[in-house]
Amino acid sequence: MGEQSKAIIDADSQVYMRKRNGTIKRWSKLLLRSKTGTVGLLIVFFITLVAVFAPILAPHDPNAINPGGLHVPPSWMEGGSAEHLLGTDNLGRDILSRIIYGSQVSLLVGIAAVLLSGIIGVCIGLIAGFYGGLLDNILMRFVDSFLAIPTILFSLVFLAVFGPSIITLIIVLGLTNWTSYARLVRGEVLSIKERDFVRAARSIGVKNNKIIIRHLLPNVISTFIVISTLSVASTIILESSLSFLGLGIQPPTVSWGTVLSDGRDYLATSWWLATFPGIAITITVLGIIFLGDWLRDVLDPRTK
């Protein structure tokens, strides 16, 4: 008896593994077919490497002031030096090193905030969908209210109250983006609740959380991944905007937004200060959008 069920389970898991390998193969085939998807993945992979290995890759300390070499232009220009590939700023700090370190903040804040908003959104969506009634109504009015406040406005109020720091920034960006998850999960819960197998499961006393894990998660996971990926892109832009306004990341931590903001006052003399961090942001966000769009095409053909 035991032998038999073990054999069945083994066979099952083999089928499962074969299925999984098939999926991986299918995915890589799909990825290679989409040029933008491939480019997006490569960019994201590259930026992640840069962020992780920033201390090794950066040629200089990003905050090292060098009074002897202020406003050094990029190396290919007249007066540039190979030591500072992208030039130096008004305090003689190396722009390339600052951009390399800036990637850490962008990715950290982007991913942490999206995880936070994912958790908040899924919880609220589950509660609203599962319990329904008045609670659902109140929570959905909350969603409406959040949609009526521009994300950046909410962040500004929050930062005005709690003062800027990297933790506040993650919390505030996490608090602003949860509405799309809440709507997705709530909608899914509402439709699942009506299906026969859930009624059946409930009638034999299966616990709510078990139903949710078994039936809800598989249904929302793909849309969840797509929303999350695209949210990381918008969160990175938002973080850099807030840092640019002086309300986000504070020195000595380096963020692309602050580097750009420093460079803004020297446009007439040193164009490279404001230009390169902007390019870094654009390429990173572009890569994530490419990846996200591709994921949407693969995972969620409905929303194409």
């Binding site: 009015r141 009526a148 406005l153 500004l156 942001i281 572009l286």
Partner: protein, 305 residues
């Protein structure tokens, strides 16, 4: 129709209440505004007196009730920086923001409609690739950076347009382009995808079979249908537009509500911050309502239902 509008107006009230609650709670947590209002060496008695007179010793819910009650009368408190009623300070700045927003929308429409239609009618052509490519890059580019790059090119290098401030049409051009291109990216994608869907509809085949000019098929029969989601979604994007305006105004020192707000946040002038949030939220909500109404006007199928 009137009935519908009234019902929707009534739905606005709880949303505004929730927003005011969130904002008030945040400000309450932020703590005492008194410290900012008096000189640092003020006597303890003096502080206590001011607290009492401002009602700050009352419990939370009473304070919130008072706050809502005053707000309904248009009283958002006094800005300590400007020394006057916060609401009037905000309203004074509103026309500048409207001017910028409208100019930006006009620019966005002028870019998005032709490019959206071209790329949909010539799918996978080079125009399509350029338009969709530009739309994605436009989405990936931070607004404020685009503004700075435009200043670098047109003001610093070429010296043809002013760097910042408000006054002439020339002052408006760069901020409007900055804000407009950001929205144009999303608009172009939207027009392209709805045109692609509509061009496959049966009634487009009917229109072609009638022998009318393809310009009419595209601009009359197809575009008139694409206009319905376009206008609706554009009105729904007011929130994005205002969010973009906040930053654009700062980059170009444009004296609108965004610049005011960011200064207020920096100086912790909470009366101004609260007034700004409530006014912006009210604008966004009204625009959403307008979107619904326009949708009903544009789509004859809905009017009768």
């Amino acid at each position: 129709m009137m009935h519908y509008i009234v019902r929707r107006m009534l739905q606005i009230i709880p949303v505004l209440l929730i927003i005011s609650f969130i904002v008030f709670t945040l400000v309450f947590i932020a703590g005492d505004p008194v410290a900012l209002m008096l000189p640092e060496d003020a006597a303890l008695e003096e502080i206590e007196q001011l607290r009492e007179s401002l009602g700050l010793n009352e419990p939370f819910y009473i304070q919130y009730g008072n706050y809502v009650f005053r707000m309904i009368q248009g009283d958002f408190g006094e800005s300590f920086r400007y020394g006057q009623d916060a609401l009037s300070v905000v309203l004074e700045r509103l026309p500048a923001t409207f001017e910028l927003a409208i100019a930006a929308i006009v620019i966005a429409i002028m870019i998005a409609i032709p490019f959206g239609i071209w790329s949909a009618t010539k799918q996978n052509s080079s125009i399509d690739l350029i338009a969709t490519g530009a739309a994605v890059v436009g989405k990936a580019m931070p607004n404020f950076w685009l503004g700075i790059m435009l200043i670098l090119l047109f003001s610093v290098t070429l010296g043809v347009l002013p760097v910042s401030g408000r006054g002439s049409i020339a002052h408006l051009i760069l901020p409007a382009i900055t804000l407009g291109t950001g929205i144009a990216a999303e608009m172009t994608r939207l027009i392209r995808s709805s045109m692609l869907e509509i061009l496959n509809q049966d009634y487009i085949r009917t229109a072609k079979s009638k022998g009318i000019k393809s310009v009419h098929v595209i601009y009359k029969h197809a575009f008139r249908n694409a206009l319905i989601p376009f206008v609706t979604i554009t009105a729904l994007q007011t929130s994005t537009l205002i969010g973009g305006a906040l930053i654009t105004e700062t980059v170009f020192a444009w004296p609108g509500i965004g610049q005011l707000l960011i200064q207020a946040v920096n100086t912790r002038d909470m009366a101004i911050v609260q007034a700004c949030v409530m006014i912006i939220a009210a604008i966004v909500i009204l625009m959403n309502l307008l979107a619904d109404i326009i949708y009903r006007i544009l789509d004859p199928r809905i009017k009768l239902n």
